[in-house]
């Protein structure tokens, strides 16, 4: 009873907020609806007993990715008139993408009706059972059977990260204020930074 209520609540909110992502006129509102959709998707994950995935979804997508989205969208000053001007030009492309999505959706529903896919059982401790927790099952699978793929994915991400840094990093010119020497700042003492002067009335101070 409660599970069914919770499922329909989460699923309904996911669908409604996904619709609102594309319907709302303000891009910041769109991102906020997207966050709501992520959050409720995490709720659905909890309902099927995949609490580890649910927490990761919230930590990674809601906590990091969506914050960056929001950050960027807030900084942009989006001109709606200019965006709508390209509507006719992009219309055929949009229709094509929509048709592909519709076909995929139809295929997906058809495949669902045809029954589950037989993937075979994974060797090792990967089988989901009541005696191993989510985290242990995923860990055993990732670090056991799929260790190579896992490490390759990690290396690809590392390369992408280094590439992004190399492409965007601009070293500040030497001597500019952007270059802070923290060690020098910390080792600075009052004796070398200040001078005690007692100027006479009407006379300046020679520094």
């Amino acid at each position: 009873m409660i599970q069914a209520l919770a499922f329909y609540l989460f699923a309904g909110v996911v669908i409604a907020s996904a619709v609102m992502v594309i319907m709302s006129r303000n891009p910041v509102h769109s991102v906020l609806w997207l966050i709501l959709a992520f959050f409720n998707a995490a709720g659905l994950m909890v309902l099927v007993g995949a609490e580890f995935i649910a927490m990761l979804l919230v930590i990674v997508y809601v906590g990091a990715v969506a914050v960056l989205f929001l950050f960027v969208v807030m900084m942009l000053d989006i001109d709606f008139a200019a965006m709508r001007a390209g509507f006719i030009k992009n219309f055929p492309l949009g229709i094509a993408i929509a048709l592909v999505l519709l076909a995929e959706l139809g295929l997906g529903i058809g495949a669902y009706g045809a029954g589950g896919v037989e993937l075979g059982s994974a060797d090792g401790a990967a089988a989901a059972s009541a005696t191993t927790s989510n985290i242990e099952a995923i860990g055993a699978l990732l670090y056991g059977r799929y260790i190579l793929l896992f490490e390759i994915a990690g290396i690809i991400l590392l390369v992408a990260m280094i590439g992004a840094i190399v492409l965007t990093f601009q070293a500040p010119p030497p001597g500019s204020r952007a270059q802070q020497d923290i060690g020098k700042q910390i080792s600075r003492r009052p004796e070398e930074a200040t001078q005690m002067k007692n100027p006479e009335v009407g006379k300046g101070v020679e520094l």
């Binding site: 009873m1 409660i2 599970q3 919770a6 303000n26 910041v28 509102h29 906020l32 966050i35 995490a42 909890v46 309902l47 007993g49 995949a50 609490e51 580890f52 927490m55 990761l56 919230v58 930590i59 809601v62 906590g63 990091a64 914050v67 929001l70 950050f71 807030m74 401790a125 009541a130 005696t131 191993t132 927790s133 989510n134 985290i135 242990e136 860990g139 055993a140 802070q180 923290i182």
Partner: protein
């Protein structure tokens, strides 16, 4: 508590539901009262450090000051700037407040005294605390004003930066405890230091992580010396500038609830939670919750002490500390600690941890929740 409601003739599901609601109230209301008194303590400590008396007029020793402030704020007019984005403007303080309270669901106050004893407790804390940034960012943007917007940008960058190193510190603790379950983490600290003291605090490898965690907690809650989001000399009051009345109060309460949460996290992760500091039988006669509250209060005193004494960081110093000092350091310690644990055979010796006491087993996550932290030898 579920059993009690079941005995009243309710079905298990509804008994569980009502018991959970009661549990939420039993945690949220004391947390709110604690926040009121912690604000009082904060003001008293800062008053003492700057040779003032602090609040001393309302009630004996000024003990009712926070409630008087709450009443005053409640009676004020709510002002919404005409250029503000109204919906988000009002939603932001609600999110801050809700998120600050939601994280308390997995905090074990004493043995078995926890609302949701879930397997992924620590991840839940991390997930919920990563939501806290939205209240700040949304309020800053919706205010449609320059200073709050600057503050929101600062807050977003600051919270994300320090969350990364907090995540790695939690990994270190989890490696040693062998579980993400909060109760399991506390139990793993029983007699940790040579069988005499309870707590990862006394572990030479984890002690540096404790220091980093404490400083990161200061940055995560935007407490001094990292309170750049509300640096009054630069940004008026930061993201709270345009807020008044209850909306402002919600920010205020949420902020202090978050600070208390970080203090209790320090307690649970490093100081042995509800366990007494020494693993010595007579100390166990003191109820666990007393130890827990004492330790949490101690950390809060440290927070206010630091607020009163340490000058504010510059923004580039803050970012440097987060990314260039704490992140490499915590990453290095993950490697060192996992290496040490592998070398000493920590993972193969199946020293069974004490099973976390199951309170109100939730039906929804039951299938995956029944597993205590015993099967570590996989």
């Amino acid at each position: 508590m579920t059993a009690f409601f079941e005995s009243l003739g309710l079905s298990y599901e509804w008994a569980w539901f009502i018991a959970t609601i009661a549990g939420i109230l039993l945690i949220a209301l004391p947390v709110m009262v604690a926040v009121a008194y912690v604000i009082y303590v904060d003001r008293k400590v800062i008053g003492a450090v700057s040779l003032r008396r602090g609040p001393n007029v309302v009630g004996p020793f000024g003990l009712l000051q926070s409630f008087a402030d709450g009443l005053k704020v409640f009676l004020q007019e709510t002002i919404i700037p005409s250029a503000a984005n109204k919906g988000i403007f009002l939603l932001a303080p609600i999110i801050t407040f809700t998120v600050a309270l939601a994280a308390w669901a997995v905090i074990p106050f004493s043995e078995g005294v926890v609302l949701a004893d879930i397997n992924v407790g620590l991840l839940y804390i991390l997930a919920i605390s990563s939501l806290g940034v939205y209240g700040v960012v949304m309020s800053g943007w919706a205010s449609n004003s320059k200073y709050p917007f600057f503050s929101a940008m600062r807050a977003a960058a600051q919270m994300i930066s320090y969350e990364v190193s907090i995540g790695f510190i939690l990994v270190c603790v989890v490696l040693w405890a062998g579980t993400f379950n909060m109760t399991g983490i506390v139990e793993a600290q029983r007699g940790h230091g040579l069988g005499i003291v309870n707590g990862f605090f006394f572990n030479p490898l984890l002690f540096p992580m404790f220091v980093v965690f404490f400083i990161s907690a200061l940055a995560e809650t935007a407490r001094a010396p990292f309170d750049l989001t509300e640096a009054e000399s630069e940004l008026v009051a930061g993201y709270q500038t345009e807020y008044s009345s209850m909306a402002f109060a919600l920010f205020w309460l949420g902020e202090y609830a978050n600070i208390l949460l970080m203090c209790s996290l320090c307690t649970i992760l490093f100081m042995g939670g509800w366990l007494p500091p020494l693993d010595w039988a007579p100390l166990y006669y003191v109820p666990g919750i007393v130890w827990f509250l004492l330790k949490t209060f101690f950390f809060f005193l440290l927070f206010s002490w630091i607020w009163a004494t340490v000058p504010r960081y510059r923004y580039d110093q803050l970012m440097r500390l987060g990314w260039k000092v704490f992140l490499p350091m915590s990453l290095g310690f993950v490697v060192v600690i996992s290496g040490y644990l592998m070398a000493t055979g920590h993972f193969t010796s199946a020293a069974p941890l004490v099973e976390p006491a199951s309170v109100a087993p939730t039906e929804i996550v039951e299938a995956s929740n029944t597993q205590p932290a015993t099967a570590r030898d996989m």
